[in-house]
Structure formats: C-alpha cells, structure tokens
C-alpha cells in the first residue's frame, strides 16, 4: 500500500488523541509524541530509493480530486522533518518540564509536523495552502507558548506577518485558478506550458510575484525577514530548532522550488522566468549580506543563531536561484544541476547543524539560565558534551574543511563561478568568512575563556537531552563523509525532480 496519506494522518491522529487522553492521563503527550514521530521518521527513511509515486485522495483522478505526490524532493524534506521532529520531541521531554500545559504543547507540535508533511506531499496548490496554514498557526501558538511579554510580542509579530503572507499566497492561488482553471499543480503546469508557452500572462506574473513574496516571508528571506529574529529566540528551544531547522525550509524554500520549478516551469525559459530567477538571486544575496552583518553584532546567543539562519538560507537560495537563472537563460544544464545540488545539499546540512545549535543553546539556557553571551564563558569545563556538540555544529556551519558545511558551500560557489557570476561568488566567499568570524566569537565567548559566575553552578544536562545532541553532531560530520551515499540516494533524485518538469506532469497526470 502507498504510505503517503499516513504522513499526514498519523501526526493528525496523534494531535487529536493527545488532548483527549490528556484529560485523564497527564503524560499522554510525553509518551505518544515520541512514539509517533519515531514511526514517521522510520517511514521517511524507508522512503529513500523508492520510485516516485502518486496517491489519489478519495479515488478521484488528479485534476478533480487532490493528488499526493512523493518524488525525490518530497522524500528529502520528509526525512528532514520527521527525524528532526523526533529528536526535538525527545529533547522536549526534559526541557519542557519548566512549562505548564504540556498536552497542548505536544498536540500543537504534532499539528506542526502534520502541516509540514502535508505541505511536502501535496500535489495541489490550495491543499498546500491549507496545510501551510496548519503548520503556521501551530508555530504562532508555539512561539508564544511561554506567555511572557517577550514571547507574546514575538508571537504576535509572527502572526501578523504570517497572516499577510497567507493572504498574498491566497491572492496568488486565486489568480492562478482564475487564469488556468485548475488547482492541481501538474495540471496548471501543463496548462502554462501549452497555452501560454513563451510569453507569460500578466496575471500569472502577478501571481508569481505574490508567491515569491508569500513564500519568501515564510522562508524569512531578507526583505521579509522581520519576524524571524524575534520569533526564534523567544520560542522554547526545541521549537526554535524546528522553526529554524525545518519550518522555514518546508514552508518557504520547498514551496518556492515546487511552485517555480514544477508549476511555473522556470527551466523551460519563459519570459517571466528570468525575472523570477533574478529576484531569487537578489533576495539570496541580501539575505547573505544582511544576515551576516547583523549576526556579528549580537550578544544574545539565540538571536545570533537566528540571524545566522537568515544568512544560511541565503546560501541555499543562491544555489537554487543561480540554477534557475542558468536554466532560464539557456545555459549549460550540468552547471545548473550543480548549483541546485549545492543548494539542496546546503539545505540538508543546515537542517542538521542549525537544529543542533538551537538545541544546544536550549541545553545551555537550561543549565545556566541565561543566553547572554557576556555572562557565559568556560562552558567547556562544566558541560563537556554540550560544548563538544556546539563545537561540531559551529565548525560545520562556518565551513571548516572536513565538515559537511564546507562541501555544500564549495559546491554552490563552484557552480556560481562556472555560471559566470564571479562578483556574486566573491560576495558569498567574503560572507562565508564572516560566518566563520561570528562562530569564532561564539566559541570564544561561550565555550572557552574564563569560567563565569553563572557557569560555575552549571551541570551537564540529563541524558534525554544530550542524546539528540550527539546524534545530530554525528550527522553533521557524517553528511560530509558519507556524501557519495547521500548524494546519490537522496540529493540527486531531489535535483532531478526539480529539473525535469515534464516528468512531474507525466507522473501525476499519467
């Protein structure tokens, strides 16, 4: 049987069950949530290597019913979402004991996972929007979960900006429907390819702009990033890890890729494609530059990590945007493939090291009670495991050679230079060094140096908290060393799914 609907049905069922059972059984969330996310994670890993598949909801054939599609790109995201989800739930069990209302927390967490899985497997524009809303609304509530003044304000800001993004997306979807008369992605893609061919319809251009703005807001690309530096530090640490690790990628980057490559057919090189590709590169560069500059001046550890997320998302977007531009202008397909591969690989790595950084920041906050870098120092002696994992992640994200982050940035840069955008590549290289600079600052201020007063009392966190950290640290190193395996089985199918638009249409519509 095709397991696609289970990716949505299992977490949704868990989310409905947890508060129901929680009326009598206080530990329902802590027991059921890790169990179900573990099942989902195993399912996602087993998905690797399977051929792309389509599931017809309710038995209605695609343009009329809703189709679920799993191809290489969906599989990549499913693995990231469900495995990181499992580790974050595991981390939450101890970490969240300081909060009340835990059944609600785990239920919202499962809803967020369900929403992201729904976005990733959906083959229908409006269905994508609905599940995007499930995930976003759950994350608004989770950001404000601590109900302190700062949390509430960050959540409120996130809610307002997120709602603006949703309205834009709905505008875009409505326009696409008005012009093409269909909501199914493959059907719309075929319609755009056959009916409008070379020149873009103004309505579709407008809709594309709305999609880029809406998904860009969800992905926190720079002109639309205002919510992220508040929301990420204010949320509980496992939620920051989810937000930074997978939410901005599955709701933002994934959706941009899917809409522009598979629906708009950017690779076919219509009149609008170059504009969109240029916009992607511009947003990417802005994110890299502004994220880097703002990160270096931060003294709040989690806020620094949040700005660093913006910068790294910029690198992901740069790879994808360069690939799109090369394809749209009719350049060499191999260079475009390399750029997209680099972008996806960096995204996959960023899932690992940014979740790890946020989780370990949570561990540090749990042990010392602060996230002000000036009050920390010498943590290496008091919390060796957390310090070690933080070190691994920082080296990896800064792009130090043997670690995974180095390889993905290298691939992106090589592709950018090959495509002839040397100036852009130079900017990216300079800001790769800026990344290194602020992670050196992290190491100097937090891990090494004199032991500060607060760190004096700190103890290593319990095993349930450091096991996820160690697993993610292994992933950080492993992705770099195991690249031949991961590249062939996970990343290349994802890249092919993006580059062969015709194959996607063929797959869904048969």
């Amino acid at each position: 049987m095709n397991p696609l609907p289970l990716y949505v049905a299992i977490p949704l069922g868990a989310a409905f069950l947890i508060p129901l059972l929680g009326l009598w059984w206080k530990k329902s969330g802590e027991t059921l949530a890790p169990l179900f996310t573990l099942i989902l994670g195993i399912m996602a890993v087993l998905q690797v290597g399977r051929p792309a598949a389509v599931y017809h909801m309710g038995g209605w054939p695609p343009p009329w019913g809703i189709a679920l599609v799993s191809d290489g790109l969906s599989t990549l995201l499913l693995i990231a979402i469900n495995l990181v989800g499992f580790l974050c739930v595991l981390f939450s069990i101890k970490y969240m004991q300081r909060y009340t209302g835990l059944t609600k927390y785990y239920s919202l967490f499962m809803l967020m996972v369900a929403g992201m899985n729904g976005v990733v497997v959906s083959g229908d524009l409006f269905n994508l929007y609905v599940f995007l809303e499930v995930a976003s609304i759950a994350s608004y509530a989770l950001v404000a979960f601590g109900v302190g003044a700062e949390e509430l304000e960050a959540g409120f800001k996130y809610l307002i900006l997120g709602s603006v993004a949703s309205v834009m997306l709905l505008f875009g979807i409505g326009t696409v429907y008005a012009v093409t008369g269909s909501l199914n992605m493959a059907d719309v893609a075929r319609e755009i390819a056959t009916q409008f061919g070379g020149q873009m319809n103004p309505g579709l251009l407008l809709a594309g702009a709305f999609f880029l703005m809406g998904f860009g807001l969800k992905a926190a690309l720079v002109p639309f990033h205002a919510w992220l530096p508040d929301a990420h530090p204010s949320a509980p640490a496992p939620i920051s890890a989810m937000l930074s690790g997978v939410v901005i990628k599955s709701l933002g980057i994934y959706a941009i890729c899917r809409v522009f490559f598979n629906v708009y057919g950017i690779a076919a090189g219509g009149a609008g494609s170059v504009i969109f590709a240029n916009a992607m590169i511009a947003f990417a560069l802005l994110s890299i530059v502004i994220g880097g500059i703002l990160a270096i001046g931060q003294w709040d550890y989690k806020r620094l990590l949040a700005y660093s997320s913006i910068g790294q998302i910029g690198y992901v977007m740069l790879g994808i945007g360069v690939g799109a531009r090369v394809l749209a202008t009719g350049g060499q397909i191999s260079i475009a493939g390399l750029a997209i591969l680099g972008g996806l690989f960096h995204m996959f790595n960023h899932v690992a090291f940014k979740s790890l950084l946020f989780l370990s920041s949570g561990a540090i906050q749990h042990a010392t009670g602060t996230r002000d870098m000036k009050q920390l120092g010498g943590l290496r002696e008091k919390m060796p495991i957390t310090a070690f994992t933080t070190n691994m992640a920082a080296l990896s994200i800064a792009g130090v050679p043997p670690f995974s982050g180095f390889w993905s940035k290298l691939v992106i840069l090589v592709a950018t230079v090959k495509a002839g955008y040397t100036a852009i590549a130079i900017v990216a290289i300079v800001f790769a060094f800026v990344t290194l600079a602020y992670y050196i600052k992290v190491q100097r201020e937090i891990l090494y140096g004199t032991v500060s007063k607060l760190v004096e009392k700190a103890r290593e966190v319990p095993a349930l908290m450091y096991v996820p950290l160690i697993l993610l640290a292994i992933a950080c190193v492993g992705f770099g060393l195991l690249y031949p395996v991961i590249g062939v089985h996970i990343l290349e199918p994802a890249r092919d799914a993006l580059m062969n638009g015709a194959e996607y249409i063929q797959l869904v519509l048969g």
């Binding site: 309710g58 009329w64 009340t100 609600k104 929403g115 609905v130 608004y140 601590g146 109900v147």
Partner: protein, 185 residues
C-alpha cells in the same frame, strides 16, 4: 441573465467606506463595529453573486466575530487611542490599496484574465456535470468540499482545531512553573 453590476458596485463602495472608517477611527469599539458592517455587506454581496453557502457561513461567522471582538474590547480599552499615527500601518494599508486597485483594474480590464462573469471552469465543469450522479449530493458546493476535496476540509478542520488549541494554550493560568516545582518533578 439579469445585470447585477450596480448593486455590486454599491456594496463595494459601502465596504470600502466601512473599512476606511475602521482604519481611521481611533476608538476601538467603533472600529470593530465598522468591520462587522463590512462583513455583513460582504455576506449580501455573496448572496448576489450566487453563493448562498458562503453567505450563510459569512453571516454566522460575522456574528460570532462581532461577539468575540466586542467582548474582547469593550471592557478592556474603550477609551480612544490618542497615540500618534503609526506610519508603518498607513504605508502598509496604502500598499495594499494600491495592489487591490491594480488587481481590480486587471480583472475588469481583462488584461490576461478571463472576462468578469466568464470564468474558465475547465475543471469545475466536471464537478457541475457529474456532481449529482457521482456523489448523490444536490448541493454541488458541499459535494466539492466534502467529497471531491474532502482532504482539504480535513485540513480546514485541523486549522480550526489548531487555532482553538493554541488560543486555549495561550490563555492558561501560568506559563512556567516555579523553580521548586521543577526540582520536585
């Protein structure tokens, strides 16, 4: 096919006036009331446009929204907010008005869009023609939301569930436990 455009324009003007009042007024309660007026006008507009399902839903939701908003605002902060103008809000609203005007011009000007009143209906023709024999459901809108696209409706139900759960979670008594309870637990 009678012409319903004049009524539509009248309702549209009413809605624009109502929303401008809602933005401009400094009294929270009158803002809420003008928003509700816009909502009711919208419901009437849906009825004109042949969408009784939407009209009913919009109407009852508007009633509920009105109750919740009045309940939420009336005793909290009934005084006029005397603060300076929020420039950001003005700029955003101007941008949105501009976008809406552009949007409306494109729809009515027909540049790249199908004519008003002549939708493409490529996919939905099938819903209209086979809806009754395939689902035995006389209300085609219901047939679409609960049979052809029931999965979407499940998503919609989860959205409502999520937001209600989120609201309940935010309204709980204390956010964090006291330090001694954590040690005990």
């Amino acid at each position: 096919m009678e012409n319903i455009t004049p009524q539509l324009y009248a309702l549209l003007v009413f809605m624009i006036v109502g929303s401008v009042v809602a933005i401009e007024t400094r009294n929270l309660l009158s803002a809420v009331i003008s928003v509700a007026a816009v909502g009711f006008a919208l419901s009437v507009a849906f009825l004109f446009l042949g969408a009784p399902d939407i009209a009913i839903t919009q109407l009852v939701v508007e009633v509920l929204v009105l109750i919740i908003l009045i309940r939420g605002t009336i005793l909290l902060d009934n005084t006029a907010v005397e603060s300076h103008r929020d420039t950001l809000a003005v700029v955003t609203s101007l941008i949105f008005f501009g976008l809406l005007l552009g949007f409306g011009a494109m729809i009515f000007g027909g540049r790249g869009f199908p004519e008003f009143g002549e939708p493409v209906m490529r996919v939905s023709k099938v819903y209209v023609h086979t809806g009754l024999p395939a689902t035995y459901c006389a209300n085609i809108v219901t047939a679409v939301i609960l049979d052809f696209r029931a999965y979407d409706t499940m998503g919609e139900a989860s959205v409502l569930f999520t937001s209600i759960l989120g609201a309940m979670a935010l309204l709980r008594r204390d956010g964090k436990r006291k330090e001694e309870e954590v040690v005990a637990a």
